[in-house]
Amino acid sequence: MGLFTELRDSVSRVTNRLFSEDEQKRIGIYGPPNAGKTTLANRIARDWTGDAVGPESHVPHETRRARRKENVDIERNGKSVSIDIVDTPGVTTKVDYEEFLDYDIDEEDAVRRSREATEGVAEAMHWLREDVDGVIYVLDSTEDPFTQVNTMLVGIIESQDLPVLIFANKIDLDGSNVQQIANAFPQHETVELSALEGDNMDEVYDMIAEYFG
């Protein structure tokens, strides 16, 4: 093979890798602890692959490692969008083992969970800087969205020029206020849903296909 042919093939491989529309996109599911990220990841994974991603719990920091579910093929309007879902630990700036003691967890286990939670948050930040192509930012719509962690995280996501969708979760609960979330992040599209009950999932999948397809 001639030098120019080799060079042309090499350039072609690089450009194909950079610009291929078929490349699997990794979509990170981010948000504060207890927003329902794993419930959402499981809902999406179960709907399109039949498998779950990880255990769900009302105890904060249940997800302490980022988990990736590969090859989730979502079909919308006759087209198929293939993504990897990355369920990440809830992001916070502080972790205190005593918050686990309220959930009937003994002190030794609480300290271990705290240590793992800190590692998980660090891991989630690393994924965000290096390894995701788009973000679903999940918020509990019964909670105040105007927190520093939310503001910082969305700012960090924007600075990476990543496409982002805001999901206002838990609309099945009393006190849910989707408009408050839309007001907090007017620069982004907000989609309401209940990942637990499966409410409004058609719109969720339409938006995922539109933003990340």
Partner: protein, 129 residues
């Protein structure tokens, strides 16, 4: 000015000018902030951090938390005035010039509690270590 005989009698507040931060690398800024906060100080930055620096601040904070002894260090509280609506262009962002004038207050989570925050006021309660 009242005399403080023992530093543990008071809470130290470090107001750090934008000029002092200007020549520092991201990691140097983070180290300076966390060293101060871990000593129980409240650190106020005249100019905030870039999103990338904020991301690394969270990451490094997590690696320094001592879960078995939360009295020692269990993380940070951080508050910043909301970011302006101005959408900096790509060139400004590449040059790192989109984060000016973002007053930021950072303190140890086990000593600082945000009482109130709006677009023009951050009110915090600080306890001694």
């Amino acid at each position: 000015m009242p005399e403080v005989k023992d530093p543990s009698d008071g809470v130290q507040i470090d107001l750090i000018s934008g000029e002092r931060m200007e020549g520092m690398t991201g990691m140097e800024k983070i180290r300076m902030i966390l060293d101060g906060v871990r000593e129980g100080n409240i650190v106020i930055l005249e100019q905030g951090l870039t999103p990338d620096e904020e991301s690394k601040l969270i990451e490094v904070t997590m690696t320094e938390i001592t879960p078995a002894d939360p009295e020692d260090f269990n993380g940070i509280e951080i508050e910043t005035y909301p970011r302006g609506e101005t959408d900096a262009g790509l060139f400004s962002r590449l040059m790192g010039k989109d984060e000016s004038s973002k007053l930021t207050v950072i303190g140890p989570a086990n000593q600082i509690e945000t009482l109130h925050k709006d677009e023009t006021l951050i009110s915090a309660l600080v306890s001694r270590k």
